[in-house]
Amino acid sequence: MSMMHASQRTTESLNTTPPTAHLMRWVIVATAPGLGAMTFYFGLGVISNVFLAALFALGAEALVLKLRQRPLQPALRDSSALLTGVLLGASLPPASPWWLIGIGVIAAIVVAKQLYGGLGQNPFNPAMVGYALLLVSFPTYMTLWSPSQPLVPENLWAQISGTLPAATLDALSGATPLDAFKHKGEAVLASEFWASQPLPEGTLNAWRNVALAWLAGGLLLITKRIISWHIPVSMLVSMAVLATFFYASDPSHFASPLFHLTTGAAMFGAFFIATDPVSAATSRRGKVFFGAGIGALVMVIRTFGSYPDAVAFAVLLMNLCVPLLDIYTVPRPTGQPKAQQHAKRGDSP
């Protein structure tokens, strides 16, 4: 029984707040570059998303804990609900209406997390459950990625409060690069598509810079040892490999690997979503398979599926595979016989 603890030598204040909160808060801090870049390109609607989602998440967590007659303080202080809220908020289109965010948060916190038993018990990534539900149920609102916006867009308040007339709503909607490419049509060659200037000025740039900002935040997490490199690296590598394969086989119809890595939720998903430890595989080898599986599914759905982006679905599908991965990737403890002898003995788990 260890009488000493790693936290005792880092910070005195940690004796009052659990180090789990410390981890969660670091992840929240690391979202700053990504959120900053998004706000810069898509306006304050990003901040309103995150703020509302975080607020609702804390509220929903408190409500369920109260119903479950669990102590509120420790669970709220561990910041896990806050983090789920921030991540869900960050993945929604800017200035989403409040009710949309509310439904997403309820699916994430109440259904995906608390109904399964709370922190540490959920088999699925809560933020992605919320996102996937919204994507399937409210596709119109979920594709409202208006092109680059001034910091304070015109109809910001009306949008958030959900009072914007439908006609104006349509005018606002714009395609993301992935969307546009997906719907370019079979007959159009990739080179023709890009030559036709399909996207408003600067859209590609905006998405690339946002991806780079998420990458920066992710690297911060890795250097602070909050997350391990296994999942993000394996996910991005598997995406890159598959994208290269498609691109090399037919560059006139498939997008380049760079395009895939710098658009959509690839970077955000790799560093902030797929790395959720609770719903990911546990062993290092398992994490590599887990990340690679997400990357492959993302590429398959983006290329052959009907959704332009697929991080949420890919993560949820791989969450399903975690128990299997966990069983087959138990590392060989020091001193245990090598794999083949193991199999011979017939007790391989």
């Binding site: 029984m1 260890s2 009488m3 000493m4 603890h5 790693a6 936290s7 005792q8 030598r9 004796n15 009052t16 659990p18 180090p19 789990t20 410390h22 981890l23 420790p74 561990d78 896990s80 709370g118 922190l119 540490g120 018990q121 391990s228 430890p277 609770v278 990911a280 546990t282 062993s283 290092r284 994490k287 966990d326 138990v330 590392p331 060989r332 403890p333 020091t334 001193g335 245990q336 016989p337 007790d347 788990p349």
Partner: protein
């Protein structure tokens, strides 16, 4: 020599400078000692003194029971005042008279004599588990040993007992190592020491140079390997990996890869037992922690109460939060200060609340994997935690629960403050109890066999006595007739074979028990002890029958 790596590990604050700044001192002789009968792995010793007996330092007061057990000696001279089920109390007469055994020269003496001396002197491993040293010395009978590893890593924070022992007695410890190496047939000695003990390393270097210069007929080469400081490099398996790049197989012993590990303190005590005839009655204990004013290392008589000892070094009662026996990673908090110092007490930490605060309430596991990355055995601690809480024993074993060395690195880094090692310990205990339950029928069978063997032996002895009487009668009456001598001839041969078989059975039982006990020193191995006793009874019976047949033969031939 290059150092190899074991996976995982942590670097907790060392806090060793609190106790390694002052030289080794002698603790004041206690007025009373309480000597527990079980200070070692295996069965408790059986008292062989009575209340009121006068004893001297080194007098045998309790004898080992079975093979895995150890003798116990008085650690002060005085009078036995109390004998309970678990301990013997001696009140001091203040004279400190010693009773030592004759000195043996380990370079020329027979192996068996030295092993018997280690046994008589109650030598056990002083590092922690308290495994009887004489059994370890006999390992070479069953397995080839190439290397003796002197485990001077002392990787746990706070503890400096080996450090100070190495600084003060480097030549003696190396000589002890030579002696044990000779016993087990090792042809090299490797001293593994962490680089945070420069003074001890320096002392060892000088002693090594001196030894190699003066004593040319050294049979065994000694090398010292300084390794990086990382907990738990002092774990037997981790150290062997680090020094020799050998993997001790799961469920196996270092002897399986030709290695024997000894703690420097044990080697020192072994030398004292053989060279000076001194039984194990005192040891070096690190007294440290913020709640005492003169921390350091002390020679302490076994059985001294922790409270008396700490009071000598300036215990501040109002600041004391808890006393920990052993290190902060693997040690246990004392529930009462009346507890005595035993053969395995290497360190006492009188900690204040600020220095080792109680762990906050645990929060749920978020499967962050921090535990996995520090596990020196490459287990999946978070999965084990899950299954341990669910009492899913079959899966626990599949996830190699029994490979866990309980080092506590996972608990140390767990951001949710989950007492992981505690969970594993209780799960292991639960599974062990289950195994014992399921082996109960076997044990009953073995006990029955033991009884049969004992009766057979007694019969054989009775028979022999009767035979002897008859022979005497025959001699006196001189009415002996020449009976047919062919039958006893055949008998003698089959009896000799039976005796050899019985001897082999004893050796096999000893080997099984030694293995089981070394693999799991914290447990009792009653069933294997019974099997060994049965084999011993059978051997005695066979011996008796053979002797009897030989006597008859001699009788028949002599007239």
């Amino acid at each position: 020599m290059p150092a190899y790596e074991f996976p995982g590990g942590i670097t907790p604050p060392e806090r060793k400078d609190r106790s390694n700044q002052s030289p080794l001192r002698n603790a004041t002789l206690p007025a009373q000692v309480i000597l527990p009968l079980k200070q070692h792995s295996g069965n408790p010793a059986i008292p062989c003194v009575a209340i009121g007996d006068a004893v001297q330092v080194g007098s045998l007061i309790a004898q080992r029971d079975g093979m895995v057990s150890a003798n116990l000696h008085a650690s002060i001279s005085g009078t036995v005042t109390q004998i309970s089920d678990s301990a013997i109390t001696i009140d001091a007469d203040g004279l400190d008279r010693w009773q030592v055994l004759p000195s043996l020269d380990w370079r020329s003496e027979d192996h068996q004599a030295i092993i018997a001396r280690l046994d008589n002197c109650g030598l056990v491993g002083l590092g922690g588990a308290g495994f009887p040293t004489y059994i370890k010395a006999q390992m070479a009978d069953h397995q080839r040993i190439d290397t003796l590893v002197v485990n001077a890593a002392e990787c746990e924070p706070y503890i400096t007992a080996d450090d100070l022992a190495l600084r003060h007695y480097p030549t003696e410890i190396l000589e002890g190592a030579q002696m044990v190496a000779r016993l087990c047939g090792a042809h090299q000695i490797v001293v593994g020491i962490e680089n945070n003990k420069p003074a001890a390393i320096h002392a060892l270097k000088e002693a090594l140079a001196h030894v190699q210069k003066s004593d040319c007929q050294h049979p065994v080469s000694i090398t010292m390997k300084v390794i990086e400081t990382r907990y738990p490099s002092g774990g037997e398996r981790q150290l062997i990996k680090k020094l020799l790049n050998l993997d001790v197989p799961s469920g196996g012993l270092p002897a399986d890869v030709g290695v024997l590990c000894h703690n420097p303190g044990t080697l020192l005590a072994a030398l004292y037992a053989v060279r000076d005839g001194k039984p194990l009655v005192e040891r070096i204990v690190t007294l440290t922690g913020d709640a005492i004013s003169t921390p350091g290392n002390y020679w302490v008589r076994l059985g001294t109460s922790v409270e008396t000892l700490l009071q000598q070094v300036g215990l501040a009662n109002q600041q004391l939060h808890q006393v920990i026996v052993g290190g902060p990673m693997m040690g246990l908090p004392l529930t009462t200060l009346d507890a005595p110092v035993t053969k395995t007490t290497n360190c006492l930490i009188a900690a204040t609340r600020e220095e080792l605060p109680p762990a906050p309430n645990e929060s749920p596991c978020i499967r962050c994997g921090a535990c996995e990355s520090v596990c020196p055995v490459q287990l999946l601690p978070q999965q084990l935690h899950w299954y341990a809480r669910a009492e899913n024993d079959a899966t626990l074993e599949k996830f190699h629960l029994f490979d866990c060395i309980e080092c506590g690195a996972c608990s140390y880094v767990c951001p949710s403050y989950i007492p992981l090692v505690q969970d594993y310990r209780s799960a292991k205990q639960r599974i062990r109890i289950k195994r014992i339950e399921s082996a109960k029928a076997d044990h009953a069978k073995h006990r029955f066999e033991f009884r049969q063997a004992r009766l057979a032996r007694e019969n054989a002895e009775k028979q022999a006595r009767r035979q002897a009487r008859q022979a005497q009668n025959r001699q006196t009456t001189d009415s002996a007739k020449a009976t047919d001598s062919a039958a006893p001839m055949v008998d003698l041969r089959s009896l000799r074979i039976a005796q050899t078989a019985a001897k082999a059975a004893v050796r096999k039982a000893e080997k099984n028990l030694a293995r089981a006990a070394a693999e799991d020193p914290s447990q009792r191995h009653d069933d294997l002890e019974t099997q060994l006793a049965t084999a011993q009874e059978n051997l005695k019976a066979a011996d008796t029958r053979l002797a009897e047949a030989r006597a008859t033969m001699a009788q028949q031939e002599s007239p």
